[in-house]
Structures are given as structure tokens and as C-alpha cells.
Symmetry: D2
Subunit: 271 residues, 4 copies
């Protein structure tokens, strides 16, 4: 399906404020960015770099006064997510080098503390995809999904204690459980068509059967319509914006995702 | 200045044909891509990767039948190029690791054959920027610039023998001369506002005084309006498209660059 | 000074066991590995990769039975560490891209929870090196250094609560405090000549004044004799060995560091 | 088999002279470096970096006076090379991203000029491994291998005209022929046990059937005993040393490779 995504921020900046942004989806095998807009108003000098996870990050200093960031994109993404019940566990020795880092504990995913719990949750399941599916199912049943933003990020251990959380929290717990079983798992932030209420979203991917698969315990059913903006070990790596200096909060923040007609050779299409 | 760039290809494909494209300008310290469009008609599955020079490359298989590629962008770029007469030569031991590869000879830049000639051209000049400026000046005076596309790329040795060439050829000779003096030099492809006749363009950069500077012997004077699409050692690395299998030629190919009003919420904004 | 380092492990392996090792020091501007030995007995197929922090990592499957790893190296390292009182804080916007990841919280360094405490510890100090030196001094005074290995890694928050820890723990708390002040900080593991009792060691580096400086709160005074084996965000990234599957513990583990005569053809040469 | 390799250089340096060296074999799936020595006499500050091909490179400034470089290694390498008659050609669209650069023409491999010749040489062969084997066979039959060092590197076109060359030249022509058929091919430098006369050696690898295979037209038969020191597009990328400034030639240069008893605590161990 073709989606148009939009994310807008408006700040009132008191003093020159450094930002690192992660708001540019990249084209890849699973999504194609056919059109993209990324505007800063007023325009400020900005540089871009690729971080160690392959994300495109933008650095800038927001000048004092009103400052807005507008990003939008037209993206072709899968109509339905790939699922692979029965896809096997990949022995550590056969994992690609680049996935090994996703086995390690990270700030919000203390996977070193979840092995026993993960074994219980996945008891009786075939090693691999089915274990992750069992974890996802367990999260849906046991951790209440509260849309919206928590004030401060909490870690998988804390999420498990509270029994509830935002999308990011469910992803953290899912990741920690997977890693504790030696299944590489990573955080994804991006857009999801039809998310209610609409917002930036977070979910996770697990590496089984030789590739990454998408999991999302916040949704009752896995369906298509995901647009990836960034990958990382957990939320610490994939903040859509990291701001330094005195805290600044957006005075406006809007996210929108809607389906569009597939662009095509039809000259009646307007742009 | 703000520019709108556009590059369109139309092919008539006989059999499924693999392409590697390099048509996506990246935002960086010297240019900001505020809007970009990249459409394939019909749409084909495409993946993107970053090559060893940092360029964003797209891979796809063009399906049989009419196939078109449309790319356009709105880019903020410098009004004037930085120049730095007197900027010193950087001793090899002080060069950043990432520039060392740009000292080596490459397919179309046989820098191992130009040391004597480069010494003659730059005799009496201060080491560094002024040497490169002398090389650029020499190219302007001695190698006739013939706009358009040569049928087959030729190397710096051949360009020097012929005494004429397209933009790419002048860049190759300039690069070979710089490298023969132990000055890192690299090929750049992209757009130039005001180029006559309009086409994709090629020029070169040399690393002196601690950074890369732009040189272009095809223009009588260095001015702003450049939009970078790709960097490489020479034209072999930065083809805007590389096509595999039976040769396919575009039946339509258009390039356009024009100034636009700085985007912004307030149409009166000047930039 | 020239050092010979040695690290030996001996395991009794019950079933084929995957390992990722990080035991190979790399030559760099600050240390030169003139001789290195790395033996597996029995030899097992092993591959090597460079992780995202630049460390050389080795992957192998230890076969059942006795399995030993012997590594030793002759390394030239600095006689004294560079110190730079007064070296300034680097504004976030001026930090190299590659240092930005070292500003983020990580598994054992919850830097998002330490800002107030870090401000108190560094009150009145010039921004930059002097802040880090104050943190190091504070750690020496307030966190008791207990040589040896803790059973299970704990995080900076826990270290601070306990008021004591192993070398790794002091480093984690130092890193968390630095990052909370927007000073990039990273974990280092390696060898230290004269460490009592001898063991693998951990310390931290902070990026101020345009480069990384070494800090180590476990030592009463900063001196030379450090040999770096790996860098990372925290201990999760720089385990000297990560073992998968059923836990296996070394039945022998020895570390040795001693000074050697500078190697050279002429034994009379001093260095 | 276990090999001990040694490469020694001795220079008489007139003025401080920058070098980039590529003399450190890396451990990988196909070879394990169990012991390595790398000594500079007198010792000079040196830094190490990984180039875009994954090679470990050392940078230093040789001081005036006698200057020697000694490297040796104990390496476990394959007893016999893998061969794979019938291994299929990999369609461009299925090639890993990292192999694409090895399809492009490079300084000494003008693959853009060899397509017709390559088609003739490989006529009737199955696409893939068998084509490369035919190219290797053709080189053996038609290009006379003259051991030793040519004064100045020549390119594949020149090698083909002369009908003879050193190991590097045969590799260049083999690479150019492979690439002209859309088979990724790369230059390898290193050691070969039993090479007559002993010297550093060069050969090539081609990517067919999903992996790299070794080819060497200088030997009448493919056998084991290769130790890789560096990979690249051609000799321009993999010089074992690149020296800048006034040319300096080694006054002594020795290479040695011999089999050793497999190292191990038990001298009776066989391998």
C-alpha cells in the first residue's frame, strides 16, 4: 500500500539549542520512499550522518524564536507483514556478525535478567519464530497497552513490574525476553497506518529463520502499513529527536498517516 | 540559493534488466535536501545501500516494457563556493584516514603517470590550494571543453593526448594531476545551475588546508549552484546509472535545474 | 614503556559452545602491538569481525573437552597518561559524529538519571576536563573500590546505592555522570601494568578538548601502562568473552602484565 | 596446514618519509593468525586504520637513517583450496551489496574493454565458476608468467598486448575478464607456500555460487598454502607499502614461507 506520513514539530526556542533528529525514513527492500519533504523553518544549517545502526540522523542548532520541523513522505510499504510460524531459531554461531550486537542487554532491555521468565513464557514452543510469537502473545495478554507517551522511559524490568506501558515499553519487554533466549531483537520506531490514537509508534523485530520479522504487541493482529524511521538496540538509540541543553518541549506536535492512491503514469495525478 | 533539480529517464526495456542507480542527493553540511521525489513507473521492488564512498545507491530490476525514472529535489546550496588561496598542502602523515584512498590511481585517473607534468604546471606555486588552482587554470587553457557526452569514457592519459573532452574528462585529468602531487582528489557528479547546455555535470574536489574544495575547469569562473549527487575515485564509481545485461539506452533523458523561491510558510521570506 | 600482557583461559566444555571473544588489542595512535599470540587448544575454526565500536572480535564454537585460550602481546604504550586540566567542554554541535552515541544512556549507565547529582559533584568546576576530573575524584572518595569480580554486573544506579564496586562498577558510574553532563564517555577494558591484584581491568574515557582522555577512579593516581583491548558504551559491549548456551566457567584464568626490555636488534637500545 | 610467513624490509631513509603499510594478515573464516610479530626498528609512532576493503593498514613516518620493518606470522590456512565446478553465476540483482564495487573497472583492470574477448574465451562454458576456470586456463596458456617484479605496474590491456607478466599482471587480466562478464573479481596479495622464487604474491578471487573462490594462473595447479594479507580492486589498492615523497627503495627485502609443526602444548599433536 502507498502511505503518506507526516510529522510536524513546533518549538519556541529560548537559546541556541542542539538537536539530533531521526526523522528520515530510508528506502530499503521493504519500503520505498518515493517522495519526501523535510523542512526547517527558519532554515538552519544542518548536517546528516549515518549512525552505527544505519539510520540517517540530522544535526542542527535550533535558533532562538519559533522553530518548526516539517517532515512528510510518500512511501510504498507492504500490504501485509510476513509471518513465518515454524521458522527456526538461528544458532548463535550461524548468526550474521551484524546481528550479534542485538543479543546484548541495553539501557532499557535488561535481557540478562529475563531468562527464566522467557523460558516459562515460551515453554513447549518450537525454537525460533514460535517463541517470539508466544512472547508477543504473552505481552498482549499480560501487559496493558496504554497509548500515549510516558513521561520518562522505563526499562523492561520496570515495565514488567507495572504490568502496563506505552508502545515503547511493550517493545522493550519483548526485546529483553527475546534476547534472553539468544534471539537477536531490535527496536523500531516509525509510523503505523491506522494507529489509534495516531502518533509515532514503536515495535520490535526479531531475527529468526535467517531474517528479521516484525512483532507488535500493541496491536491485536499483525497487519501491514508500517513505515520504519529508525532501528536501534532500544529507545535510547532511536529517539526521533534528542535535544541537548535546557529542556525544550514542542508546543505543537502532529503525526498523520493516510493511504494515498498509488502514484503512476496516469497524467491526471497531481502532485 | 534554493534550487530545484530534476532528472528523468525513460527506457524501453526488452528483458528484465538490473540497474544500480545513484540519483539521490544526500543532505550534508554543504547542501540540504528539503524535498525529494524519486518515482519508478511502473514501480519495481528496489533496495538501497550506502557504498564505500557514502553514496546512496538504489538497486532494482527494470521490468520489460516502458520504464521511467523520475527524480527531483529542492536543495539549499551555497550561493558561492569557498575558495582558499594559500591554503596549505596537507602532509600525507596528517591526512585523515578516509582521504588516503583518494591519493591512489584509479581506472580513469592514472596519477602514477603524471608527476612530472604536474610539477611543471604548478611550478612556482605555493604547495596546496594554489597548486590545484594552477591545475584548474591549466585545464581551462589547454583542454578544450566540449559539452555533451562522449560515447565511451576515456582516461586522463587519453584526455591529455586529445586535448579536449567532456566535463568528466577534464575532471579526470585534474584529479590525476592532483594525486600525482600527493593531494587527495575525488570525482563529483551532480547538478550545476546555469550549466549550458543543461545536463548532469561532473567536477572534482581536492583536499587542501584541512578540507575538500571544489574545482571545475569547465566553467570560466567558480560560482555557487552545485548540487552533489555522488562522490568517488573517478567516473567508474559515480555513474548515475549502471546497467547490466544487454545494453539499454534511454529513449528520453532530461535534466533541469532552476532557482526557486526559498520554501517557507511566509512567501515573503527571503534567503 | 614496553609491556608483555598475557591472558589465559581454560575451560572444560560439556557440549559445543559458541563464544564471542574480545581479546585482541589493536594497534593505534596510542599503543603499538609489536608481537601477538592467540592460540586455541585444540584449535577450532574461528572467524573475526570488527564490531560497531571498532573492536576486533572472534567467533568460534568451543568443542567438548578441555579447551584453552592463550593470548599474549608485546605492546608499546605511553609511559604517562595525557592530562589536560582546563581542556574545554565540546559543545554538542561541535562533537564528531562518531562520539554522539557515547552521550546516550546504555545498559549499565543510566545517564538519564544522574544530571542533578553530576551538577552537584562538578559545581564550580570549569566545563570540560575539570568536570570529569571532579567526577573521578568524587568516585575515589565516595565509592569504595573492591578489587575482584562481582557475580553479576550492576548498573550505575545500583553502584551509587551500594557505595562500592569493582573496577567496572566505578567506570559505569563515572560514565553515567559524564554523559548526564553531555560529555561523551566510554568504557574501556584492557590491561594495567601494576594492577593489584592482577586481573583484566576496566576504566573510562571522556571526550573533552577535542579528544578522548583516560580516567580511572580505582587508582590513586593516573599513570601510564594501560593497554586497551576494547571500547564500548558499557560492560555489555566489551565483555572479553561472551558465551552462549549453558553457562561455562573457566577452570583456570590467569592474567599477567610485566615490563619487558624494548625489543630491537640491539639489546643495548633503550626506549 | 600451519605456515610461518616472514617479510622483512630494510631502508636507508634520507628524510622523514611517510609510509602506508599493508602487512598484517587478518584472521577470518579461512585463516587464523595464531602468532604475529610486527617490529619497526627504530620504533616510530604508528597508527592503524581499516580501509574500505577491510584491510588493516599502518601509517607512520620513517625517520632518517636505517629503518627496518619486520613482520612474521604463524597462520593456519587450508590444506587445499575449495573448487566448485558448476557453481552458478550470480545474477547481478542477487549479488550482495558489498560485491558490487568489484564489478566496476579500476586502474589496472579496464573491464569495460574486455567483454568480447571474455565471451570468446568462455564460449560454451556454463555461466559462473566454469567461466572463471576457463579464464584462468586461458591465462596459463596464453600469458607467460615471468616471476619477479616489473618496474612499473601495467594494466590488463597492456598485459594482454605484451603476452607476459608478473603475478600481479596475470591477476589484473583475469579480474578484467571476469568483471566484463559481470562476475565480481578482486585482487589478493599475500603469501603462497612453495612459490618459486619466493616473494610476496598476487592472485585473484571471483564471486560465483554465492561466495568468493580463489584463482591463480601463475600456478599449474590450484593447491593450498595461501595466506591473505590484503584485498582490493587491483594493485593500486593493495600495495604492501605505499611510500610518499622522494622515492625510497629497500636495500634489503626478504620473504619467507615455510611449514611449521602445528603449535600446541603437546608437541605430538598432529593437525
Amino acid at each position: 500500500m502507498w502511505l503518506q506520513t507526516r510529522c510536524d514539530f513546533e518549538f519556541e526556542i529560548a537559546e541556541p539549542t542542539p538537536f539530533v533528529l531521526m526523522l528520515r525514513p530510508r528506502s530499503g527492500p521493504l519500503q520505498w520512499v518515493a517522495r519526501e519533504e523535510y523542512r526547517l523553518t527558519p532554515h538552519a544549517p544542518v548536517s546528516e550522518f549515518v549512525d552505527v545502526y544505519g539510520n540517517l540522523c540530522q544535526r542542527l542548532i535550533a535558533p532562538p524564536g519559533p522553530f518548526s520541523i516539517h517532515t512528510s513522505a510518500e512511501v510504498k510499504t507492504a500490504d501485509a507483514l510476513d509471518r513465518a510460524p515454524g521458522a527456526p531459531f538461528v544458532e548463535v554461531q550461524a548468526l550474521p556478525d551484524a546481528t550479534l550486537g542485538y543479543l546484548l542487554p541495553s539501557r532499557y532491555c535488561e535481557s540478562d535478567r529475563f531468562n527464566q521468565m522467557a523460558c516459562e513464557i515460551t515453554a513447549g514452543r518450537a525454537l525460533g519464530y514460535d517463541q517470539v510469537a508466544a512472547i508477543e502473545q504473552w505481552l498482549r495478554a499480560r501487559i496493558q497497552y496504554i497509548p500515549g507517551s510516558s513521561d520518562i522511559p522505563i526499562s523492561a524490568v520496570e515495565v514488567n513490574q507495572r504490568g502496563q506501558g506505552v508502545c515503547r515499553d511493550l517493545a522493550h519487554l519483548g526485546i529483553a525476553l527475546c534476547r534472553s533466549l539468544s534471539i537477536p531483537a531490535r527496536m523500531v520506531v516509525g509510523y503505523l497506518h491506522g494507529l489509534e490514537p495516531m502518533d509515532m509508534h514503536a515495535w520490535f523485530e526479531a531475527f529468526v529463520g535467517g531474517r528479521w520479522y516484525t512483532f507488535d504487541a500493541t496491536q491485536t493482529e499483525l497487519r501491514g502499513g508500517y513505515v520504519v524511521v529508525g532501528y536501534g538496540r532500544d529507545a535510547a538509540d532511536v529517539a526521533i529527536y534528542t535535544q541537548f541543553g535546557l529542556p525544550v518541549f514542542p508546543i505543537r506536535y502532529e503525526v498523520d498517516v493516510h493511504r494515498i492512491t498509488p502514484p503512476g503514469p496516469n497524467p491526471a495525478t497531481t502532485d
